[in-house]
Symmetry: D2
């Protein structure tokens, strides 16, 4: 596995099948998911919760990259807003990416977007909070 | 299967394992998910995307109930904001419920919350748009 | 001036003309504004920023009431989402109210709504952060 | 007054004192406000509602620019999320700008930010809806 590529780390990651990339060196984490029939809703399009999942990963790991370049510093999602611009379908590959906009020691603001090829599927903004070190195992 | 209980309808529903209940007759859809290790994040707590998924289901189906009591009228999520108040863990049962707050023919506003027992895990507000009938297959 | 009624405290309050009520004893702050032509937009309806202002006041002061019943403990708005359900007009009286949903020592989650009479004008959810005491004058 | 510069158009604009600029030809509307003591909160910083007001203007007028370059096509704010990154103070000049991200005939998605000089004060995302022509006077 290449440096900075995280696969199968958590239960949710194994279930949904996405790949997390924190190794590009630009402070932005990426999350990729190849859509299958496992990710669709009633309309045959990708489920909004799946879109939110890849965005939460990309934005949360971007928050972690504000601490160090392992992308593993623990952060919790405080609040996230997702705007859904266009549908995606089984066979599409979703690419989500985060961008740090500001914040301080404990609370950071991250935005991001997810595309399927050239098509902008969704945008998001979120507030993330660093897990106090005494609470980390 | 009881009236109003929807199981295994979509790929995402089968993958995540939630149950949708649109049959209580109070205009509010509910979504239940028993958390397992398949739904956890790096912290061993439920993944934010899983929480967003059950909320998206509960709120979207509540939007559908504004049309008729089948809860099947097609709506798309336009925008959703989720606030994360407390963690939940494998073994917990998440119960999400929606509440219609307003809107018109095509755009409706829905809020909701998800609990694990008595604990409030997350709240959400969303904008949902009715799929024009000519676009429904 | 009655206990818990705050008028003309800040520049913005004097400019916009709202009244803040933190004295009902139920942990919920209220903000009232009688709309005039000073508060309207291009459509002759209340400007979205004015609606956001009374909501920010009601939610922020509700955050303060989580500390003590003066409603003066300093909190900053971290993030706020406003959903606009219906217009209001000059002559209407806006009544905004907040409700604490959760949180801890430093970060709290508040929701709220604003009505003009019986009509629900807007709803909001927000994240508020307590200003550390060493930073308060 | 220069082409595309809108001053004193509405009651709220005259009360708050901002200037709207829809004439740069890049599809992005701008809203400028010189902060005075009339715009401050308890902390002596700019009130969150004032920040939301200039963002609502910049984003809403950017929505209008998606129709034609007058920036006057009527749109309503459906939902807006504002993240507050840093304070600004009396004497600062707020500059808000919008950016169209997507949407269709009736519903558009716009994001934006507000700066005071180089400092990023707040970011926003919003959903805006075109007012049907039959409803415009």
């Amino acid at each position: 596995m290449s440096a900075g590529i995280i696969k199968g780390e958590t239960g949710t990651q194994r279930l949904l099948g996405y790949v997390l990339d924190v190794g590009r060196g630009d402070g932005r984490a990426r999350c990729r998911l190849r859509l299958t029939d496992d990710h669709t809703n009633r309309h045959g399009a990708v489920h909004g919760g799946i879109v939110a999942s890849v965005l939460d990963n990309a934005l949360g790991a971007t928050a972690s990259l504000s601490v160090d370049d392992t992308g593993m510093a623990p952060f919790l999602t405080v609040s996230m807003t997702v705007n859904f611009l266009a549908p995606a379908y089984a066979g599409d590959v979703l690419d989500a990416v985060g961008l740090l906009r500001g914040g301080g020691r404990s609370t950071v603001f991250v935005e991001g977007e997810v595309r399927a090829g050239e098509t902008l599927i969704a945008t998001a903004t979120g507030v993330f909070k660093r897990v106090p070190q005494e609470r980390v195992r």
